[in-house]
């Protein structure tokens, strides 16, 4: 009975969403009434130039009024607070214009920094989701990987990764940069320039990059990069040698992630598929379904294959055993923290709250929360129908899957599109987990390959399907005039650009990650010993238990 009601509910939801997604029909204009003898409009008044002298007559709050305090806020933030360049000359038009420019950039700086701080907090969410989904005997090890990936990734990104990613991006319009990040290395292919990597910005000092705008974009991009790195620690949890984790994370933060990020966001060849080859607006990835999540998820797949499954995960017949995590409370709390951080991830990717169409931040935020909601519903209903119970950990993964999927299209789609693609993501993550677990036989304790890899790719593709052509970030995207428009709204070429991005992730990023980690395996060894794995990695790898006062009991089912 429950199953029938659930099927009916999903069917009704899909029909209503499909109806709502259909483009609105334009009402037929009413026939024009014969022109009445309306009175002629007065001619527009001639513009009057304001001079510096006029500014002297702008009233300022009296000193004695200010001395009494300003409880209602009416005396604070007036003309007397505008910075004057020359106190002898007093306030000038130039002062006002400079103040307006600085205010815009200041708003954008503060917006970008605060949203970056939100993204940084996602590390806490990842840490407790992954630890909760692992066994208690590995709690210290899993938490330490999530803790130190922040530092290792940041070090690599500061030393070299940022230069590779953003060193050739050009002027950062919304952040008012002077354009010191102008060193993109390119090669000629098919008669066009293919941007491959940036060259300016090593140590944030190189070639004039000791610059206020560069610092803001570094912070924002750094926390994105760290998100990608922490995805991998989930898939290979409970069996990854800590020393190998350090080396692998450094390589990913310094090279793997920045390379793809340069191609997509740093002025590289994927971003220019529109300008160079007429493929829509080039590869469009608003906040990183591909750049962040698919890079992390694809690398996680490579690592999962390379390290092999945990002991006890598969029987000799190939049957998969379920190895339960130790704390579902941590898992769902972590999912909420991640959903909160996503409000930094997606709306922050405008890099602006003022100018260049940045007022769309409200739309981006709403799309984000809607897709997350739809994802959790999709996964919960799928599990309920298939296994008879609404599985908690998969509902959490559904929420994350919806959020991952909306990350790339969040700036280009409408709310109905967000719900549809989020709902698909919620079902997709469940199907993908089963495929990875039972068909590929790749052990992924937290489902990171499916949440971030599969749905990262789905998010990239969904831009090419659902982008509605209504966004306008300064009149162009990736140097192509107009708005990003997907197949369902009339531009098939955008889908081709997105699919080339998908091929790059699956073909190039996978190979690069696999080879790099295979080499690390040869020199450092990626996997802990069987003895350490059975004992739990807390003592052998970290020298201390995560829960020293608990008595941990091993059983055959939870080995």
């Amino acid at each position: 009975m429950t199953r029938r009601i659930a099927i009916l509910a999903v069917a009704l939801l899909m029909v209503s969403l499909a109806w709502a997604q259909a483009p609105a029909t334009t009402p037929t204009p009413a026939p024009e009434a014969p022109a009445a003898a309306a009175p002629a409009a007065p001619p527009p008044a001639a513009p009057v130039a304001i001079t510096d002298k006029d500014l002297t007559s702008v009233p300022t709050p009296a000193a004695d009024a200010r001395a009494k305090g300003d409880p209602d806020g009416s005396l604070t933030g007036t003309v007397s607070d505008v910075v004057v360049a020359d106190s002898k000359k007093g306030l000038t038009i130039a002062d006002l214009a400079n103040q307006a420019g600085q205010n815009r950039v200041a708003i954008n700086f503060v917006w970008t920094l605060i949203t970056g701080f939100l993204v940084m907090f996602m590390q806490a969410g990842f840490a407790i989701v992954e630890t909760g989904l692992c066994r208690a005997k590995n709690a210290n090890h899993t938490m330490m990987m999530n803790f130190m990936v922040y530092g290792v990734g940041m070090l690599a990104f500061w030393l070299i990764g940022f230069a590779i990613q953003m060193g050739g991006v050009g002027a950062l319009g919304t952040l008012g940069s002077t354009g010191v990040l102008n060193g993109e290395y390119t090669m000629k292919l098919f008669g066009k320039d293919f941007g491959l990597w940036g060259q300016n910005g090593l140590f944030l000092m190189h070639k004039g990059t000791y610059d206020v705008a560069v610092m803001v974009i570094f912070l924002f991009q750094m926390v994105f990069m760290d998100t990608a790195l922490t995805i991998v620690t989930g898939t290979v949890a409970e069996r990854w040698k800590y020393a190998a984790f350090m080396v692998s994370s450094f390589i990913m933060g310094g090279f793997t992630y920045p390379l793809f990020a340069n191609w997509a966001w740093g002025g590289g060849w994927l971003a220019n598929l529109g300008g160079n080859f007429g493929l829509g607006h080039g590869y469009a990835d608003f906040a990183g379904s591909g750049v962040v999540h698919a890079v992390g998820g694809i690398t996680a797949l490579a690592m999962g294959i390379l390290l092999g499954p945990r002991l006890g995960k598969y029987e000799r017949s190939g049957k998969a055993n379920v190895i339960l995590g130790h704390d579902i409370v941590l898992v769902l709390l972590g999912c909420f923290i991640l959903a909160f951080g996503w409000f930094g991830f997606n709306p922050g990717s405008t890099l602006a709250a003022s100018g260049n169409g940045a007022l769309r931040i409200g739309s981006v935020a709403v799309n984000t929360m809607l897709a997350g909601m739809a994802g959790s519903f999709g996964a919960m209903l799928y599990m309920w129908m298939r296994y008879g119970k609404p599985d908690a950990s998969m509902s959490g993964n559904g929420l994350l899957a919806g959020l991952v999927a909306i990350t790339a299209p969040s700036g280009f789609v409408n709310p109905v599109g967000s719900v549809i693609l989020g709902l698909i993501a919620g079902v997709l993550v469940c199907v993908s987990v089963e495929f990875v677990d039972r068909v590929l036989k790749v052990d992924d304790p937290v489902g990171a390959i499916s949440v971030h890899g599969t749905n990262g790719l789905w998010g990239v593709i969904s831009v090419g399907l659902f982008a509605d052509g209504k966004s306008n970030y300064g009149g162009s995207w990736n140097g192509v005039n107009g708005s990003v428009t997907g197949l369902f709204y009339g531009d098939a070429s955008q889908l081709v650009a997105q699919l080339i991005g998908v091929c790059t992730l699956v073909g190039f990023v996978f190979t690069f990650s696999f080879v790099a980690n295979w080499i690390i395996d040869m020199f450092v060894g990626q996997r802990v010993s069987a003895k350490a794995e059975l004992e739990g990695l807390d003592m052998p790898e970290m020298g201390a238990l995560g829960y020293p006062e608990f008595e941990l009991k091993a059983s055959a089912a939870r080995m």
């Binding site: 098939a492 699956v506 073909g507």
Partner: protein, 60 residues
């Protein structure tokens, strides 16, 4: 087998990039890119993963 799989996976990426020079039509490029994607997936799912599964601990 694993190395051959890596080469095939990378080849799929190469095919998708080559689509930019091989065709100027949207549908032509789309077909070539999809072929590239399938080739890469065959490399990963059909070659690299089975090569590593052969020596998995649970089979012993």
């Amino acid at each position: 087998m694993a190395i051959a799989g890596l080469i095939v996976t990378l080849l799929g990426f190469g095919i998708s990039v080559a689509s930019l020079g091989m065709s100027s039509s949207v549908s032509g490029r789309m077909v070539i890119v999809l072929v590239g994607l399938v080739v890469s997936l065959v490399g990963i799912i059909g070659m690299i993963n089975p090569a590593f599964q052969k020596k998995a601990a649970w089979r012993k």
